[in-house]
Every structure is written in C-alpha cells, then in structure tokens.
C-alpha cells in the first residue's frame, strides 16, 4: 500500500518479489523481525538483553557485523535508544528492540525523538506487567505505545502484527513511515509473536533510500544543521507543536491499517489485534459452526486507530466483543469509535495468560443471547 492510498482494509504491501514455496523458512518471530530489518536496509541496531526479545538482539549480534553494519549492545535501554537517536540524526536507518520494562526506560528518548523528528523503528515484544511483571506474552503496553510514552503532545505510528509473516512486512513499512514522516515508529508485538515459530515467506522488502535535508553529515559547503527538540520561546514551541500536530493529522488520514474477516453478514464482531486476534480467528470459525454470525475486525495500526471503519461497522451489528491480553486498554478506543451505537463487551487475560477459545466463545454466546450485551 502506498501512502497516498485511503484507509486500507488490508495493510499488507504488495511486493514485487514472487512467492516461491521453496523460499519459505520456519522462523522464530524475534529472528524474522531482525532479518526483515536487515533486508530492509537497517544500518545500525542498538539493544540490551531482555526476555522475551533476546533472540532479536542475538540475531543482530551475529548478522550485522558479518554484513559490515553496526551492532552495539548498550549499557542499558537508555544507552541503546540514545545511540539510536544519534545514529538516526545522521540519516542512518536504525532499529531498536526491547520488551516492556526496557521500553519504559526508552520513553524519555521517544519524547526527544518525536520532538526532534528523528526516524527510528522500535520493536516492543510485550511481556506482563506492571513492574518486572512476568516474561509471558502480554498486550498491556497498549496505552504506553498508543497514548504516549514520554512527556509532551505527540503520537507515533504503532503497528501490530498478528503473524510472523505480517511482522516481516510491517518492519519494512515501519522504516518507510519513519523516514517519510520523520518520526519514531513502534512495532507492538508480544511474547508470543516474538517466541513462536511460523513459516515465513523469504520475500523481504527493501524500502528505497532517501536523501534527507536535515541529516547531520558535517556542515561541509552548507549551513550547519541542528537536530533538537528545544524551542525555549513559547511562541516558537507552539509553532513547532502546530507543525507536529499537522503531521500527526496527515498520518491519521493516510496511514490507517486494518483487516477484517467475515464481516459482511456479521451480527457480532470480535475486535482484537496481535496474538489476541489469532485466538479470535479460531473463535470466529467455531462460532460460525454453531450458527452465530460472528466476524473479526483486526486493527493493524493501533495509532492511527481505524476508528472510521469501526464506527461504520458499529452501526450495523448487534454488539462488539474486544479481546486483549490485558485488563482492557484498546477497548477504550473501540468505545470512543463506537460512541454507544452498539454494546461493547470485553474479555481479557493478564500476567502472561492468553484467553482460550473456549472462554472467548462463552463470552460471545452470552453477548449473542443478550442482544449484544454482556
């Protein structure tokens, strides 16, 4: 999909590479994401070990030096994200990855990068929280990713893959978005996406190289450049914020991504992303066998949230069930989009637990029996 395309039902980008069944490999999510970044032309990776994303760092530790590219294991997530800031300020294509507690440490630099418009792709392989939590899969960093990590008025694109193949494609998309809009971009995966193995098409995509008129290369024959977020005069900062907000509005208009399954005749819709969407897909198929008209709505871009599509859908269904690996975070955005047009129920598990198809199906049956109410 190109940036000019309207809100897309399918976020996958057509690739020129032909599918060759022999060019498929069984890959772990963390490793596939790492290799996708390498194939996308990632110049530098900075990281710090944390479960459940450590294989991503290890893959980069092996592959980047053999390609003559940059790999640094930093002293902390603070170190890693600030190395990324420095490298990206020179126009390099940079990847950083971590898991929830590490992402919290990176929040400071996320704010600086949003303010100074520095393009970096950041992968969060979410684990259970709060605090040190657990190392099991979770989606409890939705608020953090979507509503803001550091301080200040800003948004960053957040993309959530529901399969390892999709994660591979979204890595390339993330670099494109980061460079097109001069912004950090989040890939919000979870422990399952990071640890599971799936067949992956080895048709990786390499976004075109850009020349940046802001990148720091040394003021050789041109005026000096400064990459900064400081605008001490209130008038200047407000002007900067207006420009940022205009950019966010453009992203919100052009970069909405979602996918739907069996929505045409659906009376009840399950809304889920990432690993929860994989459970939901099973549930939809089993519900259909029972004669329940259930469909799946799967946001791929969590910001910008596919609110228009969801609003449209909510006007013609009896009810919505949101399923998350959290105590209920995305459900708030669903309710904002639906604006009371239909009942919105929620089913979630936390702490590294994954909702079972049985329990989601039970919630669906109740919803169907009560005309959409829980």
């Amino acid at each position: 999909m190109t940036a000019a395309a309207p809100a897309s039902r399918n976020g996958s980008t057509p690739t020129t590479a032909k599918r060759d069944p022999r060019k498929r490999a069984l890959m772990k999510g963390n490793e596939a994401i790492a290799e996708a970044a390498i194939q996308a032309g990632c110049d530098a990776y900075f990281g710090y070990p944390i479960t459940p994303q450590a294989e991503l760092l290890e893959w980069m530790a092996r592959r980047m030096p053999e390609l003559g590219r940059v790999f640094v294991q930093a002293e902390s997530e603070l170190g890693a994200i600030n190395m990324a800031l420095g490298a990206a300020a020179t126009g390099a294509r940079v990847l950083v990855s971590s898991s929830s507690p590490g992402i919290s440490l990176m929040a400071e630099a996320m704010s600086y990068m949003a303010g100074s418009e520095t393009p970096v792709v950041l992968v969060n392989v979410m684990r259970g929280g709060p605090g040190l939590g657990s190392i099991g899969p979770s989606q409890s960093d939705y608020f953090q990713a979507v509503k803001g990590h550091g301080h200040g008025d800003y948004k960053v694109p957040v993309l959530a893959p529901a399969s390892i193949s999709e994660a591979v494609e979204l890595v390339a998309t993330s670099f494109e978005l980061a460079e097109r809009y001069r912004t950090p971009v989040f890939i919000l995966a979870d422990g399952t996406m990071g640890q599971a193995m799936e067949p992956v098409d080895l048709s990786f995509r390499t976004p075109e190289r850009n020349v940046f008129d802001w990148a720091l290369t040394g003021a050789d024959g041109r005026p000096p450049r400064v990459v900064r977020s400081l605008h001490l005069q209130p008038e200047a900062l407000e002007e900067h914020n207006r420009a940022l907000q205009a950019k966010f509005a453009e992203i919100a208009r052009r970069e909405v991504r979602w996918d739907g399954e069996q929505l045409d005749d659906a009376e009840i819709v399950v809304v889920a992303y990432g690993t929860a969407a994989r459970v939901a897909r099973t549930v939809v198929s089993r519900a259909r066998e029972e004669g329940l008209k259930v469909g799946l709505f799967r946001p791929i871009s969590l910001w910008p949230f596919p609110e228009d599509a969801l609003r449209e859908l909510s006007a013609r269904v009896h009810g919505i069930l949101v399923v998350e690996l959290s105590a209920g975070q995305m459900v708030e955005d669903v309710r904002l989009a639906v604006e009371g047009r239909c009942p919105v129920g929620f089913h979630g598990r936390t702490g590294g637990m994954i909702p079972t198809p049985d329990e989601v199906l039970a919630a669906l049956r109740t919803l169907a029996a009560n005309g959409g109410h829980e």
Binding site: G86, Y112, L216, T217, P224, R228
Partner: protein, 272 residues
C-alpha cells in the same frame, strides 16, 4: 617640498573572532567561563580544519544552546545521554569528527552510566566536560561536584558529607579505564591556564583523529551567579576548586602517562 611617507607595515591580524564562533550575543551570564571554552573549541576546529566534518552533541544545562554559538552540525541529547548519542553517530559515521560538550550535572550525575560505558568501550569521541560545581541553569543547586561546605540553593547551609556525600572526581575514575586514551583537567582561571587547557583539548582531538580511543578534558570553570561572587572573585576561586580537582594530565596512553593510583579519594586534592 616633497613629502616622503614612511612605508606602512603590511596589515597583520593579531586577533579576530574564529569563523566557527557565531557573531551573536550569548545567553551566558556576565563573567561565565562557557564563552572561553566555546572559543577554544572554535579555534581548534579551525586550526585542525575539522569544522566541515564535525558532528557535535549538545547537553542539557547552561550550555544547551551551544548550537547557537558554534557553526557546526549539532544534535541535542537528553540530559546526561550525550556519550550514548555520540556513540550512535560515531558508529554509523566513522569519517565524522564527534564532539560532546557536557556540564557536571549532565556528565557526573544523571549521565554517569553513559559516560562510563562510552569510555569503557573506548569510543573515539572527544568529550569536553565543563565542571563549575553547580547546576547553573536551574538556579544554582548542589551538584555531585559541589565542594564540601559550598552553599547552594539546595545545600543552603553548605554541602555536608554526612548528608550529601563527597565531591566526585569522575575524570580520575574514567582515567583508569583502558578504553580512555586521554584524560586531563584544565581550568579557565587565567590566560596561562586557558592556554594549557587549549593544549589539552587539542590533544583530546588528536586522540580521536589518531583512533586512540576515548578522550576527555575536564575544564574547571566558574559560575559567578551560582557561586554568589563577582566575576573576578569567581576566577580567583578556581584556585580553591583545583585543590579538590587537581589540574593536569591524568592519562595519555600513547605517551606513556598512565594513572599510578586508585581513584582519587578525599585526600587526593590535599596531597596534590
């Protein structure tokens, strides 16, 4: 009558503003040492013809606006993170000349992890560390470098070791790391010290150019407003400051100068 004019000697420039130093009024308080240190950097970048390939990292603190005064490429780092930001630049731009400029709150408090590990990795970066023993920009609070007994807005009765610990001699600590090619401490107290400091910074730049490793020059500077002194008093006070922070080259591995002692304790200053 014929008037014969004596031939005029050719004009010779004996003093001028370095081109890399922008022609603007600075925001620094009257008498502040930052201006002197900015000038030294500008002079050296010109002398070594480095301006066109320098990428510098600005800190948070009084010198946050360094990018207004030195006409080179700059990126602004979050508070304390300049050495990590510089690492990222250095790794992807091996041909660049990478410079960090940090104050003592930035480098010796909030940024201790970043400075220690950039030094331990031996990143070929030249760090300028301006130590004025105080948080100037936020209004003169105690820093880890504040002298014992020194009154600040957050140590109103004077820094007391039982409550606030001891001044941190971080350059001595860093000098022990094998990745540190060069570490020295100078001062802006008077023209003689300024000249020596310039030579130290030149050597630190050379360490990067030669790929020797990490280099740091700590520069003892003044803060007349934060110290509640006149500018001349604050310059004279630097002699007292250098009792806690002795001046000189701490390590210069290429020239065989290596630290012979463990990190400076509270007696280091008295013995020196």
């Amino acid at each position: 009558m014929t008037v014969i004019e004596a031939p005029r000697p050719p004009e010779r420039v004996i003093f001028q503003r370095p081109e890399l130093l922008t022609d603007v009024s600075s925001h620094y308080c009257p008498g502040c040492g930052h201006g002197i240190i900015h000038r030294l950097i500008a002079e050296l970048l010109e002398e070594l013809d480095l301006g066109a390939r320098t990428i510098a990292v600005a800190p948070v603190g009084c010198s946050v606006f360094a990018y207004e005064y030195l006409a080179i490429d700059w990126v602004e780092a979050p508070h304390g993170r300049a050495p990590a930001v510089a690492t990222g630049i250095r790794r992807v731009r091996p041909d660049a000349f990478v410079l960090t400029y940090q104050g003592d709150g930035d480098l010796a408090a909030i940024g201790t992890a970043e400075i220690v590990h950039a030094a331990a990795r031996g990143e070929p970066i030249s760090g300028i560390f301006v130590n004025n023993g105080i948080y100037g920009m936020t209004g003169g609070q105690m820093a880890p470098t504040t002298l014992l007994g020194q009154r600040t807005t957050s140590s109103p009765t004077g820094r007391e070791s039982g409550l606030a610990g001891f001044p941190i001699q971080i350059t001595e600590m860093l000098a022990l790391l094998p990745g540190v090619a060069y570490a020295a401490r100078g001062s802006v107290a008077d023209p003689s010290h300024i000249g020596k400091t310039k030579a130290m910074i030149k050597r630190a730049f050379g360490a990067q150019l030669n790929g020797e490793g990490f280099a740091l020059v700590e520069v003892l500077s003044n803060c007349p407003v934060g110290w509640n002194m006149t500018a001349p008093e604050s310059m004279a006070h630097l002699a007292t400051v250098s009792e806690t922070y002795p001046l000189g080259v701490l390590v210069d591995r290429a020239r065989g100068v290596v630290p012979s002692v463990t990190p400076a304790g509270e007696h280091r200053g008295k013995e020196a």
